[in-house]
Symmetry: C2
Subunit: 362 residues, 2 copies
């Protein structure tokens, strides 16, 4: 079993130890922000408009191994496949129950899903991402659901799919006064930091919110420059922890917004860990440890899953800095490794097979 | 613990035995059929139009102890409260996780709920209650969700809230060739059998479906004269059983449509029991045993919960043949009695307290 402890290794090891004997279930939170349609912001879709359909496609793919609402699997403009391929292969291995939470999708997926009365987020340049009432509703509904689901497992894994989510994370962290510039990841190998900063600064200017106000009411900050997924994830964590379960946040630098939101709502962080990929940890264009360490002592654990020997261009691209993370890929892969004591190459083989199935269906 | 075995007592006792040591979770399926707005068909609402809002109110009340979407608790025209009062008091006692499944609500409840892409059912007099494709979708989504949720507990309780549901049950059973006339219950003390039969016969005439066709494809029969809740419940059961869990169908004579649907889809019935109230068992205007015994060997177990000593008119009315069942009241009460070895009067006291809280909030 190849696992990487990137931050707070002792707590990370304890977390892995409890995970080993834990009953686990997984939630994948999907939603959209119109921010993803700004050209250049997101490659989580074949073109800017298509990014709005990616979360729906990801969710359907997790359930059925194919997308049913439209005739396309989410890819980058270059055809690099969604990380949901990793997630699905790991879930098939794990055979754990998983559910999709709709925090505000552009298109409702054709699967059974948890509805938390979500909304699609506006372009954050407006400084008015969501109505405050909607944010409260999403948070409270997610918390209520989290409380109930937290009674059903020792550990709940939570992943996400929201194109544009790293940009909203940057905005949210800056609103709260964190040093986040040039630290946020991207699905692209060429992280468009300067474009993101420009978008975010326009949003922050229009939001007219002081750091103090944002820290006193992080849901207000989310309503100004956040997105529905960060709100739902934080609400879920709040509820799950209330029911005394552990949480593995399965995602990359985006998870810093969830943790910051929880911290400034005075929710304890000690039952939380982040599970991600080595592609995030080793990314030279972002700095997950530099982000999380500003916020709280949340261990970061990564799968060392590696596609450098893959026969497929689409997977090999991950080794060249594309995609890196998403749809809970890193965390779900990590859990499957921990549960089955799998080496990274064993897991990579499983995922290759899943990918073969996917492309043969085309 | 006072429990009544009304049908297949030996299997019933075995079911109770496994329930005692079972982990349990509960689902409440809500939905609407426009059939409930035909004057005289349903008293599950202050007036025929109001019956469309009852499932939403019931679901919100289960979560919050009050209705949030509108300013009224579901009652009969005489002010007799929804059986959700019994359900909520029992759930508070049990402290088990429960979820609401929206099979097709007229108004989306302001709670986190499971969405199975449901639809509101048409007036069954049209012989065209739902599009066939929608019925398939509801069934398949519910089955998928059932499979996942079935991994999380040994026994899943499933209740329902759909005004007009006994009328659609009558139509569905007649479509399948069962002897169901005058055997279906009603929330009214004065069961409007003849009105129901008239409505149902109009629907069956317009449906133009032979008994053989209906038995070969029960989902088609449901699409003609059924409702979304019976479809979702059957799908849930199918999935839950596939994951090897037991099912307690928490409801009255309506449960016969769910069991018939499953039987004619060749789903095994041996892990299912019905949990209901003594008000259903002892009702002289309906015959649950006469219905179920035609379909399959599914044990019927009832709580002997009794409100004859209640200080409240609204609860005492249950002893005079009003309401009787709904929102999984009987089954949920039964489980709380079994788990805590409660006598009927202990449980009645708990419910009185819950009812006091409810009316003091007004």
């Amino acid at each position: 079993m190849d696992v990487m402890y990137a931050y707070m290794p002792e707590s990370g090891e304890l977390f892995v130890k409890q995970l080993k004997k834990s009953s686990i279930l997984a939630l994948y939170v999907i939603g959209s922000t119109l921010t993803s349609t700004i050209p250049g912001i997101s490659i989580a879709g074949a073109n800017p408009e298509a990014t709005l359909y990616t979360p729906t496609g990801d969710a359907e793919y997790l359930f059925y191994g194919k997308v049913v609402s439209f005739n396309v699997i989410p890819t980058t403009p270059d055809g690099i496949p969604t990380p949901a391929v990793i997630t699905r292969a790991s879930l098939e291995l794990l055979n754990i129950p998983f559910f999709v939470v709709n925090a505000g999708c552009y298109v409702r997926p054709k699967i059974p899903f948890i509805d938390v009365n979500g909304v699609v987020g506006n372009d954050i340049r407006t400084g008015n991402a969501m109505k405050y009432d909607d944010v409260i509703k999403i948070y409270e509904n997610s918390k209520l659901f989290g409380e109930k689901i937290g009674k059903l497992a020792n550990t709940v894994l939570i992943g996400e799919s929201i194109p544009g989510g790293t940009t909203t994370t940057l905005a949210f962290l800056l609103a709260l006064g964190y040093d986040a510039k040039y630290k946020i990841s991207s699905a692209s190998a060429y992280n468009p930091h300067d474009l993101k900063i420009k978008v975010v600064e326009e949003g922050l200017k229009n939001a007219k919110l002081s750091i103090e106000e944002a820290r006193n009411d992080p849901l207000k900050a989310a309503s100004k420059v956040g997105d529905p997924v960060m709100v739902a994830m934080a609400g879920l964590v709040d509820g799950i922890i209330k029911s005394d379960a552990y949480v593995l946040l399965a995602g990359g630098t985006q998870m810093s917004s969830v943790i910051a939101l929880l911290k400034h709502k005075n929710v304890g962080l000690d039952k939380i860990a982040i599970g991600t990929t080595k592609w995030i940890i080793s990314d030279r264009n972002s700095d997950i440890v530099g982000l999380i360490s500003q916020i709280g002592k949340v261990p970061i654990i990564a799968t060392t899953l590696d596609f450098s020997k893959s026969e497929f261009y689409g997977l090999k691209a991950y080794e060249n800095g594309y995609v890196k993370e998403g749809v809970g890929a890193g965390g779900t892969a990590l859990v499957s490794q921990i549960k089955f004591e799998l080496s990274s190459s064993d897991l990579a083989n499983k995922i290759e097979n899943e990918y073969k199935k996917l492309i043969s269906k085309k």
